[in-house]
Amino acid sequence: MRTLTDAWAWLTDSAHWAGDDGIWHRLTQHLVLTVVCLLISCLIALPVALVLGHLGKGGALAVNISNAGRAVPTFAVLVLLLLTPLGRWGDGPTVVALVLFAVPPLLTNAYVGMRGVDRSVVQAARGMGMTGRQMLWRVELPLALPLVLSGVRIAAVQLVATATIAALAGGGGLGRIITAGFNLASTPQVLAGAVLVAVFALLVEGVFEAAERIAPGWTRGRGDTG
């Protein structure tokens, strides 16, 4: 109990929020890092998954990439990149390692979502004379959207959680508060940092859950009017 109150005291000390090592700065770094990595991962994974799903090809590839992705330790990738020339480019290694980590779940979820669209609906769209592109945008994607979004949610939450590892390799973000706490042997600081990351991850989960609740209604609405 003592450690908990100490951690609370550390968190509420205004001195720990200001400055370059302060919580605000680390929180901003963490947010920027996560958002940038999520955007890059989506830009890579979603077009590939949507096209593969539309063509109905590469299913085994999508699933195997996802399984193989779990076997690759992000921390090891980060350190490997850090020792290459890329290591001189600030956050470069962290961004590449995190993107490699986030692409597989995005790819698999979006692909599975596209393939899960009822074939008879697709046939009907074809019967109405829709082109492949129209079918992809107006039929398959809206119907697959809930699963595509749930892939984005999983990737976002795991990115927030995994971005802490960057600190182990000298990067920024909330992980720095934890590693600094370890170096100072300050359990309250370590705990405070951990709580911050956990709360951040849960907040992201909550935001996406709310978005997912709205999304199916939105697609249904479009289907009714359009």
Binding site: A76, L83, L168, G193
Partner: protein, 230 residues
């Protein structure tokens, strides 16, 4: 002009056979620690997950809290998880194991529960009609039918655990992660690459091993696969 040293360790190359031959014992110790941490964590998680999933299946009201709790545990980052448990376990191997157990729990509970829920109602009715009690129904019908889904969860949990063990390096119990961590601080390329590759090799080997176990435990699945082919 001096000739470059003919020792790949001195030249600090990525791939270096000399590294393995001179530090075999260190690498071997790290691999053993890595395997131990993974195996112990996943086994403990399995022992906890099966009753939890069975409870959540039996009593509908239990499913919500069980799933919510395990999902929250999964959301906590590995580095943060180790730190949250720090006051309880101190800097020890138990700290890493506890963190990994909590992680694997989510994957296992979800998959086992999904497997149990997928058992057809007619099958359960038939077993009941044949006079099976609840315990016998669970052990000889429901759990075996849930095996493929449970094994899928076990494979994902194991592979994830192998890669997560590396983060344990922060408290000194990270198996191959220790080598990666010290290799990073000393810029020792051969050590970082060798340890990273070994991590992936262990993960793939564990996955294939569990796939083999799954085939052995569920012979009816391969029979239905063969039937589907013919």
């Amino acid at each position: 002009m001096t000739a470059p040293p003919d020792d790949c360790l001195a030249r600090n190359e990525w791939v270096c056979g000399e590294y393995l031959s001179t530090r075999r014992q260190i690498v071997l110790d790290a691999v053993v620690q890595h395997l131990e941490l993974t195996a112990v964590s996943v086994l403990i998680a399995l022992v906890v997950a099966v009753p939890l999933a069975v409870l959540a299946r039996r009593w509908r009201w239990a499913a919500g809290p069980v799933l919510a709790l395990t999902t929250i545990l999964y959301t906590i980052p590995s580095l943060a998880m180790f730190s949250l448990l720090l006051p309880v376990y101190g800097l020890s191997a138990s700290l890493v194991v506890a963190g990994l157990v909590l992680y694997s729990l989510t994957l296992l509970v979800r998959n086992i529960l999904a497997g149990l829920r997928a058992v057809p109602e007619e099958t359960r009715q038939a077993a009941r009609g044949m006079g099976y009690g609840p315990v016998r129904l669970l052990l000889t019908v429901e759990l075996p039918l849930a095996l493929p889904a449970a094994m899928a969860g076990l494979r994902i949990a194991t592979v994830s655990a192998v890669s997560l063990v590396t983060v344990g390096a922060i408290v000194g119990f990270g198996g191959l992660g220790n080598l990666i961590y010290t290799g990073m601080n000393t810029y020792f390329k051969a050590q970082v690459l060798t340890a990273s590759v070994l991590c992936v090799v262990i993960a793939v080997a564990a996955d294939l091993l569990l796939l083999g176990v799954q085939r052995l435990l569920t012979p009816w699945e391969s029979a239905s696969r063969a039937a589907a082919r013919s």
